[in-house]
Structures are given as C-alpha cells and as structure tokens.
Symmetry: C4
Subunit: 386 residues, 4 copies
Amino acid sequence: MTGMPTRDTVEIGLNRFARRGYDLDEVSIVPSRRTRDVDDVSTAWQIDAFRFDIPLVTSPSDAVVSPATAIAVGQAGGLGVLNAEGLWTRYDDPTPAYRRIREAAPEGAPPVSVLQDVYCEPVKPDLITARIKEMRDAGVTTAVRVSPQHTQQLAPAVLAAGVDLLVIQGTIVSAEHVTSQGDALNLKEFIADLDVPVIVGGAANYQTALHLMRTGAAGVIVGVGADSFSTGDTVMGVRVPLASAIVDAAAARRDYLDETGGRYVHVIANGRIETSGAIARALACGADAVQVGEPLRTAAEAPGGGIWWDSVAAHPRLPRGGASPAVSPAGSLQQVLLGPAEAADGRTNLFGALARTMAKTGYRDLKEFQRVDLVIGGHESPTQDH
Amino acid sequence: MTGMPTRDTVEIGLNRFARRGYDLDEVSIVPSRRTRDVDDVSTAWQIDAFRFDIPLVTSPSDAVVSPATAIAVGQAGGLGVLNAEGLWTRYDDPTPAYRRIREAAPEGAPPVSVLQDVYCEPVKPDLITARIKEMRDAGVTTAVRVSPQHTQQLAPAVLAAGVDLLVIQGTIVSAEHVTSQGDALNLKEFIADLDVPVIVGGAANYQTALHLMRTGAAGVIVGVGADSFSTGDTVMGVRVPLASAIVDAAAARRDYLDETGGRYVHVIANGRIETSGAIARALACGADAVQVGEPLRTAAEAPGGGIWWDSVAAHPRLPRGGASPAVSPAGSLQQVLLGPAEAADGRTNLFGALARTMAKTGYRDLKEFQRVDLVIGGHESPTQDH
Amino acid sequence: MTGMPTRDTVEIGLNRFARRGYDLDEVSIVPSRRTRDVDDVSTAWQIDAFRFDIPLVTSPSDAVVSPATAIAVGQAGGLGVLNAEGLWTRYDDPTPAYRRIREAAPEGAPPVSVLQDVYCEPVKPDLITARIKEMRDAGVTTAVRVSPQHTQQLAPAVLAAGVDLLVIQGTIVSAEHVTSQGDALNLKEFIADLDVPVIVGGAANYQTALHLMRTGAAGVIVGVGADSFSTGDTVMGVRVPLASAIVDAAAARRDYLDETGGRYVHVIANGRIETSGAIARALACGADAVQVGEPLRTAAEAPGGGIWWDSVAAHPRLPRGGASPAVSPAGSLQQVLLGPAEAADGRTNLFGALARTMAKTGYRDLKEFQRVDLVIGGHESPTQDH
Amino acid sequence: MTGMPTRDTVEIGLNRFARRGYDLDEVSIVPSRRTRDVDDVSTAWQIDAFRFDIPLVTSPSDAVVSPATAIAVGQAGGLGVLNAEGLWTRYDDPTPAYRRIREAAPEGAPPVSVLQDVYCEPVKPDLITARIKEMRDAGVTTAVRVSPQHTQQLAPAVLAAGVDLLVIQGTIVSAEHVTSQGDALNLKEFIADLDVPVIVGGAANYQTALHLMRTGAAGVIVGVGADSFSTGDTVMGVRVPLASAIVDAAAARRDYLDETGGRYVHVIANGRIETSGAIARALACGADAVQVGEPLRTAAEAPGGGIWWDSVAAHPRLPRGGASPAVSPAGSLQQVLLGPAEAADGRTNLFGALARTMAKTGYRDLKEFQRVDLVIGGHESPTQDH
C-alpha cells in the first residue's frame, strides 16, 4: 500500500480536519508477562555495511561534535556526524569561536546574535577534506552532514575525502523541492550517482518519508530536530509530534519494503530525544536508531563546554532556536553513553538504560523491541533541570 | 448551505451539550512532501480595491497605533488602524496621557484605574478629521475604528475626512442588536448607504459571522480580541477558541460566496496572535488576514513605549483586561514586521517567518496556504517572556 | 423519567467505567448572533415567596458572614446565610476569636489547628435566637445554616426565632442516611412538618439531587463546597466536576417537575465559584442561583478581615481545607457585588458582569440564559492572585 | 475468561496502537444517594490467616521501616514489611549508615551516589534471622521482602527464622524470567514448595498479574512502585498508569477466581500512593490493600529521619529514583495512620480518612467499597509540599 494512511482526526471546525499526533513523552512502555537477563540483550544496529553496538547517530551540532568527539563516539559503538557546514570547516582553528560563544554569557545562555556572527565566516572545502581525513585515520566509521542547499557544492570535497556515510539534513527536507531558479537538487538523481550510502531528512510524515525512501537513501531522519531550546513552533507554527511521526515513517518503511521486494530503509528519529527514557520510547515506536545531540553536552569531551545549540539557531534572518546555558560535565562520553550512572535523571548511561528496558520487557534485540506494548497517559517523572 | 453547522460535541451532563473548540496553539502546521524557495512565495493580500504586501491589520490600540505608526505600517505593506475613540481623538496632544500611563508603574504594569481615568476625556470629532487627514497626506491606505455604540455619531466626521476603510469593532458584535430604546444601529442599512468598504466584528461563531457578512461588510473580524492580558474569560465567562472560530468563519465565507454567487468577504482573525507562529496558524486555519497588536509594542516607534493595553481595559465599570509592563524595543517597526530577527522568540520578522513557513510547506500564496495540513498535539516551544 | 441518566463514560480498565465530568472552568460561554442592551437585562431570582435582585446565596462561612454582613447582602439584593453552628452562636462576642485567627499568622495562612481550637467552644441555642432577631429587625430575608447532624437539636431555636429560610447543609448530604444508632434525621418527615422553606445539600449527582428534591425541599445545593483552599480531593479522594453536576441536577429538576406536575425545585451551585466568570458559567449550565463565599472576603465589611476559611477546615479529627492568607479590601460589599470594578480580575462587580454577559449573548433573564451556547476548550485568562 | 482484555485504544500512527491508561489522581470518588455513620464502617482486611484492621502493607524501604517501626505498624493494625536486602541486614548497627545519608545534604536531598555507596556492603543472612526474630517476639505478623534475583539465596534464612509472610518484590517482576544462564527462579515451583504465603510483584498489566496469580501467590503487587521521587519514566521510558493497572489486576483476580473455582488472590496497589485520598482511590479502583511508603516518613518513628528513598535509588549502575529532602515529623506513626489530623493535607489520619470516605459514600466494608462510583475529570486540590 502506498496511498495516504488514515489516522485519528479531529474536526477543528466545519469541514476542516487535523490529525491528532502524539509526542514521545505522551507514550510509555508497559512491562509485560516476560522478563530477561540484561546480559542477554543486544542493542546492535547495522545500516548498509556498517555495524554499531548502539543505535546512536549524533546530531551534527558543533556544540557536541568535533572530529575528536566523533572518533570517541565511534569507539563507544555509535556513529558521530560532523557538520560539514559548521565551525570546524569555517575556521582552521575554531577554538576562538567556541571561546567567544562560551564567554558571551558566563552566567546564562549566549545570545543568538553571537551565534549569527560566528557563523558568518564562509565554509572552506579543504577544511572538510582535512576533518574527514582526521576521523578516517582513527579507524571509525565516518559521516558528515551537508544541507540540501549546499549539497551539490560541497559533495565533491566530502566524497573525495572518502567519507563512509553522507548525511543530507535540513530542518525540513522534501524529495520535491520547487524553485523558479531551475537549479534545485534532484535528490533521486544525486543519490543514484553516489557510491556512499546516504541518510536524508528531516521528514515529518508518512508521505515525505516514503518519497525520501524512494530517492534511494539508506536511512531517513524523522522529525524536525526540535530540542528543548528550539522554537520552530513559536517562530513558524510548525510542530511534529514525534511518536506519531516515527510510527508513520515505520509504516512507510514497511510499505516501501513491500513495493521494492526487500529494500529496508532505516528510520532515524530526531527531536527532543534527551533522556534514556526518550531513546527507549523512540525505538519502541519503531525507529531503528536515534539522533541524539543535547545530552552529549554533559560529556567532559563536548567541544561546546556544556553549552548546547542547534545549527538553525545561527540562521542569519530567522533563527529558530537558542543556545543553552552551560552545564558542568556529568562524566566522560563513555559514561554518558554506557554508564554507570551516578544520578537518576536519565542523562547518563543512556544506552545501558535502553538495554535494561529491553530486558525488563523481555526483548532480545531492537527489531523485536519495536513491538513492545505502549500506553498513553500516566504521570511524568519529576522534571529534570538542564 | 446556510444552516447551523455541526461539530464535535461533548455531553457535559444529561442532555446539555457543548462544542469542543480548539485554540490556535493547539493546532500546528505539518510540513508535507513538497518544499519551495522562499523568494518564490507571496504573502500579498487584497481587500476591495486595496492591496497589501503582508496580511496585517493592526489592532486599533493606542498602545501601538498613532497616526505616525499607522503610516509606518502602511509603508511596510500592512494596514494600520487608528482608534477613532482613543487618545489621539480625545486629546489634542496625547503626550501627557501617554506619559501618565508610562509613569504610573515604572517597574510593573500600570493599574487599570489609571487607564479608566485617562479615557474619561470626551472624544472630539474634529480631532478625528485631523488625524485621518494626517494619514491620508502620507499616501497610505487609511482606516479608523469606531465602536458599534458610537458609529452613528462619529461616522460623519470619519467619512467626511475621506477614510479608505471603516472598521466597526467591539469585543462582541452582532448583526442583530436588540434594545428597548429603539435607536440601535442597523448595520445592514448603515453599510448599504456607505461608499467606503467596512470591516466589522468581532464575531465568535459561524452564525454571527454569516449574519455580519450579509450586512454587506467587506471583511469580518473573528475572535473577541483576547490578548495575553485580557480577562474576558475570568470576568464574563466568555471564551472563544480561535482556531475553531476561524475555521467556522471560513465556512461561513464559503457558504456566503455560494449564496451570493461570488461575493468574497474577508475573514480577519483577532485574538492572542502574538508570534509569527500564531500568524502562520491563523492563516493556515483559513483567515485571509490577521489583526495584530501586542507584538507591535516591541517596535521602537510604538507610542505606548513598550506597554500594551487593549481599549476594553479602560472600561469605566467593567474592565476586561489589563496593561502590560513595558518592554525594551526589539528593533524598528520594519524589523519587527520584516526582519531580520536577532532572537528566536517569534517576535520579530513576523511576516518573513510566514513566508518561510509557506515555502517549507510548498505553498506559493495565502489562498493555497489555507489548505496546509494541520495537526493537534505535540510540544509547545519554550515559553517566551513578555 | 426518573431512572439513572447516562453520559460519556471512560473504561478505566477491564469492565470498570467512570463518567467524564467537566469543571466550571473547562466550560465557557459563546456569544451568538444577537446582542442586547445591558439595561434591558434582569438578574432577578425568586425562591418560594422571596424575591432577590441577584441570584446570590452566601456560603455560611464565618469568614464572610456576620449578622451585619448578612443584612448588607440582603440590602444589596442577595441572600445572606449565617452559620448557626459558627462563631456567632458559639461566642457571645466572637471578636476575640476572629482576632486570634487573624493574628495566628500575620504574614501567611492561619494554621488549621488554631481553627480547630477556636471551634471547640459549644454552640448556644439562645445566641442563635439573638442573631436571627438582629437580622429580622433589619428587614431583610433571613436564613441560617444547620448541619444535618445537629438539625434536630438546633431547629427549635432557629424556627422559634422566625427564620425565613432554613439551610440544612453539610459537605456531602443524602436523603438516605443509614445508622446503627437508629436516630438519624429523616429529611422527608422533618421538612414535611416545617412551615418554612428548606434549602438542602450538597449533592453531587443526579440521583442524590432528585432524592433531595423529593424530600420537599425548596432548593437543592449542588456541589461539595470546594473552594481554592479545600482539600477534599487530597484528603478523601472525592471530587465533583461542578459543570457536570449542575447540568445533572438541572435534569433532576426537570424530571421532578414532570413527576410532580409542576413543583420547581431550585438548583443552587456551590464550589469554587470565585469570579464573575464562574458565576456566569454556573448559571449558564443550569443553576438558578450560586452560593458564593470566598470572593466576599475582599469586601471591607468581611468579618474575617480578608482571611477565608470554610467550616470544614475546623473539623476536629479530619480537616478538609485550610484558611487563606488575608487580602486587603477591594472595596465595599456593594462594590464587590455591583461595581464599578477598578481591576480586571473578575473579583469585583460580580453581578454587574453577569448582567453584561447576558446582554452580550442576547438574553433577558436567568431562565432564558440557562440555554446559552457553551464551548469546551480554549485559553484560560491569566491566573489571578488571591 | 482468561484471554487478553480489550480497552480504549489510541492509534498513535498508522497501525500502531496504545492503550489509554489512567493514573490514580485522574480518577475520583463520587458521593451517591446514601450516607452512613463513620462508626459503622470497617476497614478490616484479611490475607490467608492474617487479619488487619487497616489495609496497609508498608513499602520495604529502609527510609520508613526498621524492625521497631514494623512492630509499631503491626500494633496500629497494618502489616510492616522489612527489606531483607536493606540496611538492617547489611549492617549489624545501621545507625552510622542512616546518619551518613542524613548528613550528606543537610539542606536538600542526599545525592544518589551516597546511597549507592552505603548499599555496597553485602547482606548477611544471620542478620535477617535476627531481625525477623525481633519482630516475631513483639507478637505482630512478620513479613520481609526479598528480590527475585536473591530469593533462592536468601529464602532459607528467612524461612528458618519463621516469617509469617514472604514478599518477593522487584520493580518489574514476571512469572516467566528468561535467562541464558539456566538458573532463573521458577516462581511457581518455588511457591508450591513453601509453607508460608507469598506476596509477589510488581506487575503492570492484566496478563502479568494473572500469571503471577497462577504461581500460587496469596497476593500480587500491582504497579512499579513509582513515588514522587522515582524516575523510571525518565530513565527507562516505563510508566504504569495505576488506576488502570489496578482495575486490570482486579479483572485478573476475578478471572482467576473463576478458573480455580474459588481462589481469591489479593491485589495490593503500589505507586505514588502518598495521601489519604490516593489510598481511597486505589481501593475504590479494586485493590484489596495498599502498599504505602513515602507518607510514613513524616512519622516521628521513621528511621530515615524524614528523608525518603526507594531501594531502586541505590542501584549501582542505573539508579531510577532519588532521595527526598528531610521533613519535620507530623506526629507519631499512630497519628499518621489513625489521626487526629492537625493539617488538611491528606498526610495524617490516612486510614481514618478512608473510613470517612466510605461512610460518606454509604459503604460498610472494603469489598463493597470497590464498587463505588468513579469520575474522571475535575479540579485537583492545591498541591501539597513535601
């Protein structure tokens, strides 16, 4: 089936309908009649030829990903994604830029105008080459992100440097971009010509996800990348209830698998996934992996020194998110990802917690876990401060 | 169809039903399978013979509209509406009145009793004439607001001054006002006799909107003008979920178009439209334009100096809203309306953001954009302070 | 029809159902196609032979009702109810008791234990006689409240003193009290023997309201008297969504009217009715009058000096509510009830606001106004502080 | 019927469904047409041969249960449960451990890392024997808790000491634990071989509850033990709306009673039951008894000195809850359980309040009270501080 799926709808007023969507924290996992040893559980994930111990794709945010942290993420079992249009490719030495952000508001959040200013510096293709080389030399799977607007311009440098996975990511991406200029990126043709697998997104619903799968992408990012500090809702009126979006994209994955007779495109969830509980929920809703950014800023290795910002916060005319105040480190990157946790806030041992949820609900691997029982309703945990 | 539309209803108790209404911030826009260049998008709006680059009608609030700011709004592409029963027509020089409001509470919100006092001064018809002349001389489309109660008394002065559009606006207006005094305004006869187009409201539901369209008005204001500081709900028990009211008024517009064989009456949404996201939502629900007030107080040119109040806050016996504390300017009026934004709070670049939302969801003009997909649910952005 | 009414139900779990109830502030009034002059509106209410200009029955709380304030309420057009088991019948001079409460926590809320202590003093029947006489002598309609437990004991003194209306009120009252002691009050026999009309309650649903109507009462109080400081929910797990309870009681009124061929029993709503908006909502849901207490503490004449407490807050073993901190007076009792208002918080001009809501929705009298359109949803006004 | 029960479901997205669950505080008790004297009400509960005046099973938390407080709970009419894997069996004298926790944060909540550290000390079987003996000697019914993981290892010491009731309790327990190690506890065989009755849990849904009943347990704990300080939702994505879980477990009890021709397994509710109102709700939903922990910390006898923590807060790799700041005592344990209350916060006279709720709704005993009318919706009481 490739038609438009139906779902619960609400009649806002006469003859105008809206779908009712659910966000991740409205949905919870229900333990069922079986339990399992945590040591018998696997959180492994594989996309194309690349295998990972944990289903983690980092956000391509300069706040948390430098070449060095991308390497550390790879060594911990995940996939680090460097922004090919970020500070590391705009500045030969980005240290002063980071320092300027950190020092802009020692007590609070750096103003957006400082981010806008720091990101005025142009991107240099030869720096892209150098950064990818540094990651390759460390022996981890390499991935960089480019925006749809700059894909054609920057792809040559990226590919020549021998990247393993290419991430084409904007807040909202479609397979059908219309322009009166006549030079829009044709994703389908572009991907068909490539040798490296592509992850593309973000998509917000079944149709866009299905169309992006049909471009030949290996993975589709679902969600518009909202984090606790993003304001896409206030600025643009756009909101994507992520649990529903993941479920719809998983339906597109199923339908595309059927229509192609066996091509499985991975669904990578992205949006306010900031605790181990949210990671478990996203996978339970049907995601194959999660794109995580904000929680990594608590790692001692985070290049932003505990501050978080998404790239859209630096938009020159219409920023759609802010930077956070700095937090003190909660431990090493290894500890943030794999524990042990010394606090009960869901912000460390992110993937150890996932394994335990799978064990307590009786599942052995992620593909099985996508079928776990869900419930809507009930108390939320006390609010975490961050 | 001109009957009473049906909609989701709730049985409050035995045999007593209420409709379920939705407010603007419960409804969000969902990106779909197409995107478009922002430069290919038009936000133009035309009512009667008057064309505007942006679908903006200002609130007729003294806090944000003086003759000078009405001119500046016109030059920026919108329609400024001066209150013909406000400070500029009560005082030859309103400067001391403004100063008194501003100085009543330098740290907080001016008390309602100060507003009540300042508005005791009677309206002078010759000042109406002078203010309209000032705006006309600047070459912009001119509009003033009168209340239904004083329309018959003040209209001669307004019309003689050559206004382009007349706005007859009260919190709650009907086409059928009953009085034992026998001298109520008959809107239908009044408008039929006029040469200038009339915008009338606020209306709260399908029936009232339809009846107001049948008076011959060019535009109908939908909503009871609630802003963040209005208390019509607490004081009168009246609440109008705006998304549902806009959708219902758009249905009335469609039905009236059919019943007249082609008369298109514009729907102008009014009520807590305080961010660019809310503007996008109101238009997505079916409005042709939005009445915006409170956000304009952040413009450097705002006559209230950053304080906001609605005219109903000055009611002598039953005020239904308060004044706000002052905010510092966020930029020029031009910047508030058209950008660029230096913060991510949805309070500047109000209509540049609209164009971007239209582009990211693939629509070229406002009439098409009224069909964009909507979703109920999901996270709200972090609360803005104002 | 006298059977059990059905209503929206929720299946909490397997085969266990709960009704979905709505509270007053979830329900709002929708303006419709007609408006009316406020001077053409009547808020009059009549029960038995007694006519009132405003549909106000005071809570029998010592915080707001002394003999003097009961007289003032009567002179303003409402019905003041003195507690026959309160401070005015326990103490010859209650001034020191009031002072002790006021001085127990000059900056905050007096502790419950102080209330428990002050109310240990026994009730004196001859003080009941004296207080009623004082009110009668002023020429207003007189009413006192007794609890169901003490009705038989205190009624002789009350009746001998010539009270006009007897209010038998507890938090939860039924027409069928079961006891192993064999001396329970039989409401039906008791009321049948009386010459004065009785108001009885609180009742929480259709059945209890109907059974209380069948006792011969002239009025039934609906709701368990919750106010902003009551904790019946936390302490006992009992909650009565008032909008639904009023609607159900109005259905019982209709059914009882039919079953008796014409006996109309008044429904008096009681519970968190603390703003003019809530008063309008309660009447719109079908109440004939409202029992109001907490807002009267802002009157300069309130005997509690701005502090509020309900009698259940003084229970010796299980208090179910607290006292409030003191507020400064907002005006005279006359102004609180009839205006003008100098603030927009819905706490003064309580019944002037009602008249305006009726006018703006086109209704002439309260009986018609019970049919006004309602909506569920939409923004609440900014929270008032009190 | 022993199949899977159906219930209200929500379609999160295409073809993925979740049940809608309700938490205790969404459900409230509705008074009905009958009332009763509080002295005619019984709150008695009996499991196996053991009879209790109040349906109280304590949480096995070191914060509130020492051998001495377990004895005091028994003397007040309830069942105290000592943790056989807590401080009293790890330390010959736990006083210094308690002191360390108390002194770790004199002004706030002790950090999780201190709990982790204190609980590193191994459990000593001979201390289990000694603690049980101490409680037996006092003449009360004795009960201790063991975790499923350590049941086989610790049960001999527990049983040899002559315990009356064995509680096998983990956050999430199933009747079917799968392990690759081959040495998992077979609950059914284990219980069949025992002479003492077993209470086992927590279970989260109908199926798990039914399977645990089939192990031969005398009681099943329903809920995952969440309290105000637990973070199982944030850490693991697991949430159990308790009202729905109790109702489902009560359905399992009914089905198991039918399938066995008369075996009644008790349902004991556990999760955020922190006020007398919550106790009444849990029993009204169908529980036979409640497991209460956090409120007991306000008793003067609480060994934690007013601090609360659940055992899962001390997990060495993945704590799922924190400790609370200390509160001052609200009275003796007797007063917390049976009154009188000197505050209206639902935190003292916990079971006196239950009796009053039963009386005000007309029920004589707990089994009848499980049928009381329920409502969803309505105001919550003002938030309590703790």
